[in-house]
Symmetry: C2
Subunit: 206 residues, 2 copies
Amino acid sequence: MATEEYHAQRRQQVADAVERLVAARGLDAVTVSRTAAEAGVSVGLVQHYFASKDDMLRFAYTRVTERAMARVEERARELTEHRSTIRRVVREGLVERLPLDEARRADWRVSFAFAARAVDRPDLAAVRNRTEAAIRARVAEVIENGKECGEVPADADAEEGAAGLMAVVDGLGLHAYLEAVPESVVLGLLDRHIAEVFPGECHQYD
Amino acid sequence: MATEEYHAQRRQQVADAVERLVAARGLDAVTVSRTAAEAGVSVGLVQHYFASKDDMLRFAYTRVTERAMARVEERARELTEHRSTIRRVVREGLVERLPLDEARRADWRVSFAFAARAVDRPDLAAVRNRTEAAIRARVAEVIENGKECGEVPADADAEEGAAGLMAVVDGLGLHAYLEAVPESVVLGLLDRHIAEVFPGECHQYD
DNA sequence: TTGGATCTAATATGGACATATTGTCAACCG
DNA sequence: CGGTTGACAATATGTCCATATTAGATCCAA
């Protein structure tokens, strides 16, 4: 139905505005009326399409996390097609999450703002956990694949490896964002960590 | 002067209340009147001792970061007296920052709440950066010491090593807090990372 | 065309909050 | 002893915000 599509578009439009506000001024600056103004619509419209402010934020955050996951997935797909090593697929997927250029810095900022708020807000925590678990599972799956051709030791715990990599990436991301650690160092550290999970290196479909 | 001491005590009392509120309900739940109630004083008293709410939060955050640093320092001092390896001094100092028991979980929560807010608030960012830089410098110094007796390769960049360790600890802390990574895995990852900075091991004052 | 459902906008309401103002009481000082 | 000052407490003020309410517009079915 075209009306549903229209409906969905309106919600996207509002969510876009939320993201812009968070990126520019932080989550605290997001009010319903500011969001409406930023989106170029009335407060009434926002109310019409979202049951509450919380609902609006949840929707926006869901979109942010899903896009983040899709980007990792997309990057991995690209590389897989080019027959990269599995190690490289993981590396590039994870690098995608680091705030190393302006676009990703903005994204990182938005994600972090929501993630921080999620510490006290169970509904946002649910959104985060869902996506985070999905990404972790995906990374673990890829690591598992690495065992087949010897990139990863056969007795390695893929789940644990994935969890460790995600933790390291988040820590590096935070410090990279705060400019405490320059990009070259960040990538160096990431590579060293990845090398521990992937002692070998080989091509996926040789 | 006794009056100054009294003055200081009142401020501590209020800051204690702020911390308790943040730990229990997050930074958003901190209002001047709630803080006053939590501290068992009137709103007027809080106003009397702090020029503004921001001033109050800044004071509370400063105390939090300084205590965190003091704890790391203290732990390091203890171990140094017992002639631990330098590697161990660093390890235990960093472990001190991880939310691995209830007390440290609460502390971590408070620190994280402030750190997250600091992303949008330059005055809080200044507090964080000051302490963070001091800790990093301290870690770097210890790493540098490790070169003397061969725990650390002579050509290693101590600053970079310290920055990397701090980033990893923060990432592990985040995931440990969110219970995505069990304690054993967190410590395992930390140790592996430390082992890269400290390939050797020897006693400080042998 | 009419009448209701669906949207959208404007405005109203009520609460929460930071801060300002005013009041009280004590100690200390001249 | 009158007055000034410091340490509070109580209350007032005005802003901002989420949400409710009301009203107007558009579209479509009967």
